[in-house]
Amino acid sequence: MKRPVLMKKGAEANLYLADWHGRKVVLKKRLPKEYRPKMLDEQIRAYRTTHEPQLMHEAKKAGVPTPIIFLVDHKNATVIMEYIEGKQVKQLLNEISKSQRQNLCFRIGELIGKLHEYGIVHGDLTTSNLIQRSEGKIFFLDFGLGDKTKELEARGVDLHLMKRALQSTHYKFARECFESAIEGYSTVRSETSEKVLDKIREIERRGRYVAERKERE
């Protein structure tokens, strides 16, 4: 293997671009975190290193594109996966027209719907974890905080987090993006999506200083 090049220093892992048996791959290495106790650190890293590839594999069965996993190295908390050539949705949203944005978000919503329908929640639905390849396929990355669950609560939190991520990073079109995503989500199974939307409202009301709760005062 050629010497891997540091591509991104993330919050919990370093991503290296490498050449692996003639393939362009990403090495995702979860580094020890000095700030937390060793035991907790090892538990967290071991858990996520094991679960992330499993969830990515399951996501494919749900019809949601994710990078191919080539190798899981538990000892070094490293996963080797396919490098996806494309553009981060985070960037893309700022470069395209309104109708393109709505279309993109609709398709993202559809994919989230499929994921949830299959019993997976992503756990960190930010636009930097979504990559669109040149032919248009949208890939989901970073399942480290994901979970296998069909609970309505978990689905609601998943979408609530996405809404929040849109509001903090794409405040200009957060609303239209989220609405389009929900439209796409609803096409997968409408009666569930109604319940999920109610759940999101409930989660928001539970949160601190929420406008909706204010209205009822």
């Binding site: 700030y35 907790l40 905080l145 987090l161 929040r164 601190r208 929420v210 709760r213």
Partner: protein, 340 residues
């Protein structure tokens, strides 16, 4: 000299959103001349909003007098009155707002309603000389990671349920610990945790850039009732787990925003262990780390006075009839015209 002094302008700020009643006085150049804080310490249990509000009403004139005397500023030389308009506990906020309205009317000077969370960030920046930090604000009522972007402070991460300080306080009460005026629950837990060695497994819940602390609290409190573990070890485990969660989301936000400064503030910022954790991630991302001095990190009037200066000098005035308190006023609802 006297002429120069006469030109100096001052803002008096009142903070009363929770258990502290405080009055601060700031010059328009950001010199803090007074910051008097009087804390309500319940005999037992948590903050009862009505009891806390009664405390505030009782100490208001005493605290005002003390702040005015300390500052050496004559009330008639004040230019503006600022008050904490929210978020917070209704009865407590209303008490402070009433005092502020009375003062402004009596002195015939403008009134400015300030968002409590904005004030925490602004005084933190003033006191640590940071410019554009990622702020981790952890207190009894709030737990959030925020940074300025395009006209407002954006909340990147926060708690999905209870605040970090609240988690520590309630655990301490459930475990039968007691606080004193100079030793709040957080400090009691911190002290015990220093002697803890065994890490007990507790729920660790990070969701995206948000945390959930209620499950952790329930589990830790239940274990303390069982009496299987030494209290030192429980305090240690609670702190390590809760702080690791908060630090993880702070690091996520730091990687996401790429800021070069990290500011730690709020009552829990006084905790040395939390400071060391946040310092560690700041260093890893080549960011400068600052913790706000405790008297300006806890709820205080100086932060309201200083933010009052910023708001007033950028055109914000709150008419008396629009000065009702805003219990759930979120940080990102506030427009920040003083940052370019």
């Amino acid at each position: 000299m006297t002429r120069k002094k006469a030109r100096e302008r001052y803002c008096l700020g009142i903070e009363s959103s929770a258990d502290d009643f405080s009055v601060g006085i700031s010059t328009f150049n950001g010199k803090i001349l007074a910051n008097t804080i009087d804390a309500y310490v319940p005999a037992e249990g948590g903050i009862h909003p009505r009891e806390a509000a009664r405390h505030h009403a009782e100490v208001a004139s005493k605290v005002l007098d003390a702040a005015v005397e300390e500052s050496g500023v004559k009330p008639q030389n004040l230019s503006v009155i600022a008050f904490s308009q929210g978020p917070g506990l209704g009865p407590c906020l209303r008490t402070g707002a009433t005092v502020a309205r009375a003062l402004a009317s009596y002195l015939k000077i403008p009134l400015v309603g300030i968002n409590h969370c904005v004030a925490h960030i602004e005084i933190g920046k003033l006191k640590t000389r940071t410019k554009n930090p990622l702020t981790l604000y952890v207190s009894g009522g709030n737990t959030m990671v925020a940074a300025f972007d395009a006209g407002r402070y954006r909340v990147f991460g926060e708690t999905l349920d209870i605040a970090l300080g609240n988690c520590l306080d309630v655990f301490a009460r459930e475990a039968g610990l007691h606080q004193k005026p100079d030793l709040p629950f957080g400090a009691v837990v911190e002290k015990l945790a220093q002697n803890g060695k065994q890490l007990i497994k507790l729920p660790y819940t990070v969701k995206g850039m948000d945390v959930s602390l209620s499950g952790l609290l329930t589990a830790a409190a239940a274990l303390s009732k069982k009496g299987e573990y030494k209290l030192e070890n429980l305090c240690y485990s609670l702190q390590e787990t809760a702080f690791s969660m908060v630090t993880e989301v702070a690091e996520r936000a730091l990687a996401h925003t790429g800021r070069e400064e990290v500011l730690l503030t709020g009552g829990v910022a006084a905790n040395k262990r939390l400071q060391s954790m946040i310092r560690s991630v700041a260093m890893e991302h080549n960011a400068r780390f600052d913790v706000v001095p405790t008297r300006f990190a806890i709820d205080n009037g100086a932060m309201i006075a200083w933010t009052g200066v910023l708001a007033y000098t950028h055109g914000t005035v709150t008419a008396i009839e629009k000065s009702q308190v805003r219990l759930r006023w979120r940080l990102e609802e506030v427009e920040i015209p003083w940052i370019q």
